[in-house]
Each structure stands twice: as C-alpha cells, then as structure tokens.
Amino acid sequence: MGQITANKKNPMVYLPGMEVLESNMLEQVLTLSAGIDWEKYEAADVEQALRQERLTLADFKALLSPAAEPFLEDMASVAQRRTCDFFGNSIYMFTPLYLANYCENHCVYCGFNCQTAIKRARLNEAEIEREMQTIAATGLEEILLLTGESPSMSDVSYIGRACQLARKYFRVIGLEVYPMNSDEYAYLHRCGADYVTVFQETYNPEIYEKLHLAGRKRIFPYRFYAQERALKGGMRGVGFGALLGLGDFRQDAFATGLHAQLLHKKRPQAEIALSCPRLRPTLYQPGENPGGVSEAQLLQVLLAYRLFLPMANITVSTRERASVRDQFVRLGATKISAGVCVGIGGHNGEAESKGDEQFSIADPRSVSAVYEALQGGGLQPVMSDSLYL
C-alpha cells in the first residue's frame, strides 16, 4: 500500500457514503464525560456506591476515581457476587481469527497502521477454512473474525464469505472489523454473524483527532454509532471498549460504560459486552507500560464495569498475562480467549504467520490449558451461549 498523507479531515464530519443516524447519544456521552473532577470523590462516595444495587452515574464515577483505589478488595467482593448472580460460574471461551491486516488508516499507536512496513496478508478461502478447521478441532464453538480497515482488500463481501465459512464450524460468530453502514451489517448478519465489537479507542475527541490521522477511522461519530447501526442491521449483540492508556483512562472507562448503558436503554433486547484492553508495548508505544495504566487500575475499571452493568459480558484480553487473566475471570470478567494468534494465519502450526501480528500477546496458552485453568479455579467453561436464528 502506498503512503496516505494525513488529510486533516474534520473528524466530526461524515465522509460521503457514511450512514448518519438521527441521534444525540454522542452529544450526551461527550457532555457527561467531559471535565470530570476525579479528585472530588471521597471514600464515602465509594462506600455508598458499593451499597447500591443499581448504580447511578455518580456511583460509577466514584468507583472509577482515585478514591476507590484502596477499596479494590471490597469492589472485588461485591463484583464477584454480582457476577455470580447473573452468570453463575460460567466463563465463555472464544478465539480471534485475523483474516487480513491490510489497513488504510493511520492510527499512530497501532501495529497495523498504513505507514508501517509490515508483512501484509489476506487469507484466501482455502486458508480461512483451514484455520477454522484447526480452531474448531480444539473444541471452541465461538469465533471472532477480525480485519484491518481496507474496503478494497477486505471488503464486506470478503468478510461475509468468511462468516459463511465460519457457520460450518462454529455456533457463534462475532466480528471486530471496520465500522460500516446498517445495510452492510444486515448482510453480514445474513451471512451468519450475530455480534459486532468496535472499540472507540478513546472518547476524547481532541486526543482521538491527534491519534487517528488519516483514513475512515478518523471520523469520530461514524465509529461511535457503529454499534447502533449493527443492531439496526439485526445483530444480536454489540461490544464496546476504549484502549485504556490512550487518554485519561478514567474518562474513557466512564464514557465506555455510559455509551453501553445508553444504547442498551434504547435497544433493550440487545446483548451488551465490554472489553477493557490496556495499551501495551508496540513498535510505536515502547516501554514497559506505555499507557501508564497499572494492573490494579485495570482491575478497578473491570470491577466498576461489572457493578455498573451487571448483565454485560466482560472480556479480558490476551494483552494481559495468564495469571492476571485467571484472577480476573474470578472477579468479574466472563469471557476469555484462548489459543490466540494475532498474526494472519498461524493456527496451523507454521513457523511464521502469513502476515504480521497487531500486538504482542502475553497469554499464549492453548484452549486446553485455559479450559483446565478455568475448571481448576472452580469455574465452568462454556463454549457457546447463543443460537444463530
């Protein structure tokens, strides 16, 4: 791919062809998440929040504030009970399959960005099917299909064909691909996908503009409304997340939870999921902890999400080490990936993936290893919890 010069498009203005929804949800989230004074929350606010069955926005903020840091143990205890009430001891397993890493966006922090000279690849149908057979043989029944953003190299019909192939091997198909219009989501739903995840990365528009220099991803509201368009297209569930550490992680976590809550109120039949990926070292973000979000703060976000949205599935990323993930699933996370390869191809045991990976994973455990770890922790691994209808 040739270099794409930063086009300095206004990130708040839709590009031609982008579907516009009539909604003020974005304004609500931006207004409510701007200028939060995290220092004003005190221990009493945190204790009050921990006593509530249904949290207000103020309670949610208190749990995300620095004042909650000494209360992690109490938060964990309440979150564990809430998780148990709604999910029992079930932990859902899945794995991602990266179909292609061609990308036309220039996101300064990402290993796939269009400026980076990496090995680019796109799996063909035979390769997709081989990868899926290998993954299905591990016993997994849910797959998450990913691509970079390249409507020319991984267009909607390519993704749709991958969904159709996935239907042969998996009961649950999720997508983490570039935002698209509702009719395109409807097409992918007909092809077999039921779930769509889009990370807003950061809900701070100023920071977002500095990090996303070119490509369709630069357009902030189009990304924000992706989940709503996906539900409009018939998808069963949607996932939200911010890449913690790109901006103020507390603000981003609050905005993520609020975004999910508002959409859930508007579409109460939808299944809602949250992820809490933390910025980890990449080519562009060197250093031990580039985003400055500690493990304790990551846990704080996870627990606050659980208490604010007790019905939401919460995924813990392979960016985190195995021992952390094993604990997080006992405290509020309900979904975990296993047997992960974030390069293009590579599930078939080749020495190298066909295409380079997006980030380094810290938990490379196989499906069996994660499965046994869950059982050893008194948890019940669940391979699928959905029917495509």
């Binding site: 009430d85 001891n89 859930h264 039949q269 019905m311 391979m383």
Partner: protein, 264 residues
C-alpha cells in the same frame, strides 16, 4: 400427611405425571454438580437452554443428566415469538421431546419476559403439539390468553432472574393461582428454600429454581434443602384445604346463631 409419592398429589403436565414439584434450572451450574443437584433435589424435570446444548461438543449438558429425567428445553435467547418457535423445533429435532418452556425476553438488562410475544409463541407451539410452559410476567389477563392459547401451565416470575429476591410478585401470583385453572409454576427469583415453601403454601403447583442452588456454597445440600421446603409447603397447602371447604359451605353460624329467625 400427604407424601410426595401419593398418587393423589401427582402434578400432571401434558401427558406426564410428576411426583416432584421441584423443577431444576440448569443455566448456572458447574456440570459436575448437576447430577448431584438432581439427586439431592429429587427433581424429575430439568430445564435446558438450547443455546448451551451441543450434542457432540466439548461439554454437553445432556451428557450430565441422569437417565429418566424429563428435559424441559427453554427458548432463552429468543427475542420474539418466531425465534421461540424456531428454538422449540430445534429442541424437538435434537430429541428433547415435546415439552418446551417459552422464554421470550424483551429486556436483557432485567431478563423480563415479553408477555405479548410469549402468548403468540404459545399459540403457535401448542398448535404443533408441544406441551408449552410459558415464562411470563404475572399478569392475569395474559394468563387468560395463555390458557386460550393452549398452554399446559403458566410460569410467573417471582422476581427478576438471578435476583434471588423471592416472591416480589406474590399478590399477583396468588391471583393467578386463584383464577387460572392451569398449574401455576413459580419461576425466577426464588432465592431461599423458605421462599419456595411459601410459594407452595400459596397453592403453586411447583417451583423452578436455578441461581439459588447453583451459587450456593454446597450445591447438593442446597438442592436437598429446596426439596424439603417444597414438600413442606405442599403439605401445608394440602392441610389447609379442609378450612377452605368449610369456608365455602358455611354450614353453621356459631357467631350469629342467637338471632331470632322471624318476628322481632
């Protein structure tokens, strides 16, 4: 005292009779505990979410169910009547029999049922020969519609699924018990054996419990506690029947017998 084995007190649903009035939900278990829970609880019927069942899969709940247990598949995940019907047909095709619990959820935040779609699904499925047990919000009018639709029972919630809050809807459940001819099976929200006992004392035909047992520290023991509670409640309900009959007959008037029958 009536025992659960008494043939006078069997619960009839469809073409089957059950001596146990305790139905086990299965959504939240460790699979290795289900067998113990069934045995200790004495359940003769256990629910099964089709979205979890996968014959031949790595962990299939069907492999953990003791023989002789009636499987009650549920349509959890259905967003409308059509999806409920599709799931029911899938269940039947998998060999799960003709019993189906209709569960159409309008709101995944609180897992509250969509009564209107539930009635539609019930009518469609009853016409296809299913024995339909619909999970519903306890509304008397909806219950009447479910009777007309061909339901085999009605399953009003006591409180939101997973809340363990007990019989929040007690007054409305009592209305159903008093006014609807079908068995009333209290489902969802029962958090303690005492609440199951209370539901049975009110005259519920049976109770369904999942979360309260699955999340107990000692799952088999809690299943046993619920078994005892359901028996106690049912026995108490049957023991009250004598007073109900007397109230209806009013053969004597010990309080007002002093009044002259004519004249002054």
């Amino acid at each position: 005292m009536n025992t659960e084995k008494s043939s006078r007190d069997m619960m009839r649903l469809g073409n089957k009779e059950f001596s146990s009035r305790f139905i086990l939900g299965s959504g939240k278990y460790s699979l290795d505990l289900i067998t113990a829970a069934v045995r200790q609880g004495g359940a003769e019927m256990i629910t099964l979410a089709l979205r979890r069942a996968n014959a031949g899969g790595k962990e299939n709940i069907l492999d953990y169910l003791p023989p002789g247990i009636t499987i009650l598949p549920n349509t959890s995940g259905a967003r409308d009547a059509q999806e409920a019907v599709r799931i029911a047909r899938l269940a039947r095709a998998m060999g799960c029999g003709d019993f189906i619990k209709v569960e159409v959820i309008a709101d995944t935040r609180f897992l509250l049922p969509d009564n209107r779609e539930t009635v539609k699904a019930t009518e469609l499925l009853a016409a296809e020969g299913f024995v339909v047990l619909p999970y519903m919000y306890p509304d008397l009018q909806t219950a009447r519609e479910l009777v007309d639709a061909g339901a085999a029972a009605v399953m009003p919630l006591g409180a939101p699924i997973g809340s363990n809050k007990g019989l929040c809807t007690k007054e409305f459940i009592q209305l159903l018990i008093d006014e609807i001819e079908l068995p009333v099976i209290v489902d969802a929200g029962i958090g303690r054996p005492s609440q199951a006992c209370e539901a049975m004392e009110m005259g519920a035909a049976a109770v369904m419990v999942n979360t309260a047992i699955a999340t107990a520290t000692d799952v088999p023991a809690m299943a046993g506690a619920f078994r005892a509670a359901v028996l106690a409640g049912r026995s108490a309900y049957l023991a009250k029947l004598g007073r109900v009959l007397d109230r209806g007959a009013a053969a004597s008037s010990p309080l007002t017998g002093f009044l002259h029958t004519e004249g002054v």
